[in-house]
C-alpha cells in the first residue's frame, strides 16, 4: 500500500501547487493594468460604456467572489469565456492543444532515445574523441535561442537545399498528420536543443552510475558489457534523469512558442500570443493554468517512474 500512500501525498502536494499558480495568475491579471471591459470595447468607448460592460461581464463584483467563481469553473474544466470572441476558452484551446501535443509527442519520441544515446556514448567513453565532439556541439545547441536555430534550419533545408517546407501549415481543415513533412523542421529545431540539454544530464548520470558497486560487481562477474549497461547501469540513471526529462518535455508545451511562430505552426503559442495581443485575459489565464497543470502532473509521473526504477525507495517508503 506504500505506493498508494505515496501517490495520495503527491496528489495533495500537486493540488496545493496548482492552487498557488492559479492565485498568482489571477492576481497578476488583477494587479496589472487593463481589463477585459476596456480591451473588448475599443478606443472610442466612453466611461459609461466601460462601466456598463463591466457590470455585464461581472467585473464589478469584488475580486474574492470572481476568483472563487473562476476557480469553481476551472475545477469543472470550464475556463470561462473569451471576451473577444464570446467563445468558451476550452473550445478555443482544444485544437491548438492537439497540434502542440502532437509536436511535443513526436519531439519526445525522437529526443528521449537520442539524449540517452548521446549521454551513454559520451559518459562511457568520457574524455574520448566522441565525448569532446558531442560536448562542443551540445554547448552551441543549448546556448543558441531555439528560434535562431529554427531560422538557420529554414535557411539551410528550405532555402539553400529546398527539401522541406519552410512553413508548417497543415492542409485546410486537416491536421498536421495529413502532411507529416511539415513536422520535420519544427521537431528538428526542438530536438537539437532538447537532446543536447538532456544528453549532458544523462552523461553525468551515466558517469555516476558507472562507479556504483552493483555495476562493478556485474562487470567482475563476467557479464557481457551489453547486459551490464542495459540491466544494471541504465536503470541506475533513471532517478537522476526522470525529473530533467519531465521538466524538458512539459516545458515544451509552453516553450515551443517561438519555434511554432517561426514555422507558422497552428499550436498553443499562436493562441497565447494572439491572446496577449488582444488583451484576452481569460484565454491567457486558461492556457497558463493548463501549462502549469501539465508541468506539475509530469513531475508526479517522473516521481512514479523513479519509484518503479528504484526498489530501495519502495522498501524505504514502507
Amino acid at each position: 500500500m506504500t505506493a498508494l500512500r505515496f501517490l495520495v501525498r503527491r496528489v495533495a502536494a500537486t493540488t496545493a501547487t496548482l492552487l498557488a499558480v492559479a492565485v498568482v495568475l489571477f492576481a497578476a491579471s488583477e494587479v496589472l493594468p487593463g481589463d477585459a471591459a476596456t480591451s473588448s470595447l475599443g478606443l472610442d468607448a466612453t466611461a459609461e460604456d466601460v462601466a456598463a460592460r463591466r457590470v455585464e461581464l461581472g467585473l464589478d463584483r469584488p475580486w474574492p467572489v470572481r476568483f472563487a467563481d473562476w476557480l469553481a469553473g476551472a475545477v469543472r474544466l470550464d475556463l470561462g469565456t473569451s471576451v473577444m470572441s464570446g467563445e468558451p476558452v476550452t473550445r478555443i484551446i482544444a485544437e491548438p492543444l492537439g497540434a502542440t501535443g502532437l509536436l511535443v509527442g513526436v519531439t519526445a519520441a525522437v529526443t528521449v532515445p537520442l539524449a540517452v544515446l548521446v549521454g551513454l556514448v559520451s559518459g562511457l567513453r568520457r574524455g574520448g574523441r566522441a565525448d569532446r565532439a558531442l560536448s562542443a556541439v551540445s554547448v552551441v545547441a543549448v546556448s543558441v535561442p531555439q528560434f535562431v536555430t529554427a531560422g538557420l534550419l529554414v535557411l539551410l533545408l528550405a532555402d539553400l537545399v529546398p527539401v522541406l517546407p519552410a512553413i508548417s501549415l497543415p492542409p485546410l481543415g486537416g491536421t498536421p498528420l495529413d502532411k507529416p513533412d511539415v513536422l520535420v523542421l519544427p521537431v528538428l529545431a526542438l530536438t537539437l536543443f532538447g537532446a543536447a540539454w538532456a544528453g549532458r544530464i544523462v552523461r553525468a548520470a551515466v558517469i555516476d552510475a558507472d562507479g556504483l558497486p552493483h555495476v562493478e560487481a556485474a562487470r567482475l562477474a563476467g557479464l557481457p558489457e551489453r547486459a551490464v549497461v542495459w540491466r544494471h547501469l541504465l536503470p541506475a540513471t533513471v532517478p537522476p534523469c526522470a525529473h530533467a526529462f519531465a521538466w524538458l518535455l512539459s516545458g515544451l508545451f509552453g516553450g515551443t512558442a517561438v519555434v511554432e511562430i517561426v514555422f507558422n505552426y497552428p499550436g498553443l503559442s499562436q493562441t497565447l500570443v494572439a491572446a496577449v495581443r488582444n488583451h484576452d485575459t481569460a484565454v491567457l489565464e486558461g492556457v497558463g493554468l493548463l501549462l502549469a497543470a501539465i508541468i506539475i502532473v509530469s513531475f508526479v509521473l517522473a516521481d512514479l517512474l523513479v519509484l518503479l526504477a528504484d526498489p530501495r525507495l519502495r522498501v524505504a517508503a514502507r
Binding site: T17, A20, V21, V24, L25, A28, S29, V31, L32, P33, G34, V139, V140, V142, S143, V144, P145, Q146, F147, V148, G151, L152, V154, L155, A158, D159, L160, A166, G251, F253, G254, G255, A257, V258, I261, V262, S269, L272, V273, A275, V276, R277, H279, T281, L284, V287, G288, L291, A292, I295, I296
Partner: protein, 263 residues
Amino acid sequence: MSAARRVPAGLAVLVVAFVLGVAVFGPAFAADPERIVGLPYTAPTAGSPLGTDGTGRDVLERVLAGGRSLVTVPVVATLLATALGLLLGLVGGYFGGVADAVVSRLDHLLLGLPPVLVLLVLLNGWGYSAVTITAAVVLTGTPFVSRVTRAETLHAVEDGYVVTAYATGDSHLSVIVREILPNIARPVLADFGTRLAIAITLTAAVGFLGFGSGGPNWGAMISENVEGIRLTPWGVAVPALLLGVLTVAANLGLDRLVGKVLR
C-alpha cells in the same frame, strides 16, 4: 595551452569582440534604420550590402541599430536577478525556520511557471518596455540563483570558521558578508553566463514574437524577414548568426572567465 589550440581560441575572442562591438557601438554608425531605400527583399547592392527587408529598409542599417538592447537589458536584468537570488538564498539558508520555508516555497512556485508564459502575462499587463523584460528575467532567473545560494549557505553555516566568527561575537551581517559570501561566490556565480544567455534569448524573443518597440531588433528581424527568405536570405541569416554568437559567447566564454577570476 598549445599553439594549435591558441589560434582558434584567439579567433573566437576576435569574433565575439566584433559581434559585441556591432551590438554596442553599431547604433552610432546606423544613419536611419527606418528609411526606405529600395524595393522589398532586394539582393545586396553597393548601396545596401546586405539587401533590403520586407518594407524595403536597409538590412545592414537595421543590423547595426538592432543589437544594443540585447546586450544592455539582459546584463542589467541578470545582475538584478543574481543580487536578488543571493539575498533570498542567504536569508533562507542562514536564518532557516520560517524564512527558509518562505524562500523555498517561493522558489518552487516560480520554477513551476514557464518563462515564456511569465513574459507574456507581463506583456499583457504592462506592454513592451525594458522594465517589463527585466521583470520577466528577474522573476524567472531569481529562483535558480536562490536555490544554489541556499544550498551552499546551508553547508557553509556549519563550517568551523563561520561558527568561530559567530562565537567571537560578530554580528549576523558581518558573518554573512565577511565569512559566508566569499566562500559561496564561486558556485553561485559559476553559471552567470548561462543565465545571461537565457536572458538574451528571452529579450530577443520579445522582439521575435512581435511585441517589441517596432524599432530594429535582431530577434524581430528573424521573424519579419523569414517570409522573404527565398528572395534574399541576409535579413534572417545575419541577425541569427549574430544572436547565436552572442549567446554562445555568454554561455561559454563568460562562465570560463568567472571561473578563472574567482579561482
